[in-house]
Symmetry: C2
Subunit: 243 residues, 2 copies
Amino acid sequence: MFTPESQFNVEVCFSPALYPSFHKAEAIVLVTDILRASSAICTAFMNGVEKIIPVETLEEAREYKSKGYLVAAERDGFVMDFADFGNSPFNFSAETVRNKTIVYSTTNGTQAIHLATGTQRVIIGSFLNLTASCNWLKSQNKNVIILCAGWKSKFNLEDSLHAGAVVEQMLQDSRFNTICDSANASLDLWKLAKSDLLKYIEKTAQRNRLRKNKLDDVIEYCLTPDITDIIPVLENNYLTYLK
Amino acid sequence: MFTPESQFNVEVCFSPALYPSFHKAEAIVLVTDILRASSAICTAFMNGVEKIIPVETLEEAREYKSKGYLVAAERDGFVMDFADFGNSPFNFSAETVRNKTIVYSTTNGTQAIHLATGTQRVIIGSFLNLTASCNWLKSQNKNVIILCAGWKSKFNLEDSLHAGAVVEQMLQDSRFNTICDSANASLDLWKLAKSDLLKYIEKTAQRNRLRKNKLDDVIEYCLTPDITDIIPVLENNYLTYLK
């Protein structure tokens, strides 16, 4: 419920396909794609990447490649043959990315980023920058929408759990509240999962997809909270970070 | 996880806007709209209605009215001025509906019913017919999709909790399993809420909408499990019940 002192609303959108019902020009959007795009983007900025250009289609990514850009591109977890690397945060090491511009296209995450343009600000959230991103959101005095990248338009648990972790921190500030059922559901799922997140995540479809494809080495890392204060932000058509 | 003996999948679709990613011609779809359309439809059949014609638009509803049909039509909880009554299950009393054909148009529920045509079968579920609908689904040896009507394309808690209650019963039969994140989330939310469903539902947006509009007298009734064995089913363009 809204109390007299609560002025700002926190909402959670479970899928890019639902985003049109949430879009508000005056809100800040936090995009999350825990396994693995938003964790990889945070890692790239931790390791000194200069810019990331998120592109929606593989055609765009291929075109940038032909112009000499470093390109990260994956679909369904697999690196595209023309790309320099894929979607694992471990690909975005300092040796590979420092002071570089990277073009990035993924199954779900980069589409979600584009969808949220036309709002006050689009930032990239993950467990890695959880508290830093929440503290910054609290300082902005704006409504907040957490946009889960999901999986091919479907709800996914890992993004929703991260959304719940953000909601929990935001509601600790009495100026923020929620009347959004998705935000309340995320918060309850997060409270259920947080004491042993790695165990809870065992049941998710993406965890099983990554295991099947032997891409699950990143999961524990992607669920680690607060290893950085860096907050990637969309400026025009590329990602940089808040200074 | 799928075990060797599990043959059928149970999925939950949180919103009609996500349904294109779920649609499968060989599946059975259970449509749920707890507050209030699917509870009202179950009640109407309990009280002897002969047929219900679900229509998507108010124009269609108005046209049926001009042809002399009994029409139930609401938007955002309010009865339309041309309609005989709205969306409260209490409107569908035996005196009003017995042996009648009713035309019915609601904010979310009737659109969801239309969306699911082209599958094996579309049934209407609610807490009122929870166990009966699950037992029937178990007997059909088909994949099951639970389609939540949601609220104007958004996720809602009350439909998702009902979905979780259905998932819980379905998974008690080892031939049914799920690898669907929405089904797992629904199940966990249901387990959290079921010991005091009325209290849990206090936090939902629709509960607050109905209270504000003084339409909340139906909530306790709509959350009552297993008061009927009747299962409404879509046949061509109208609802009847499984005999």
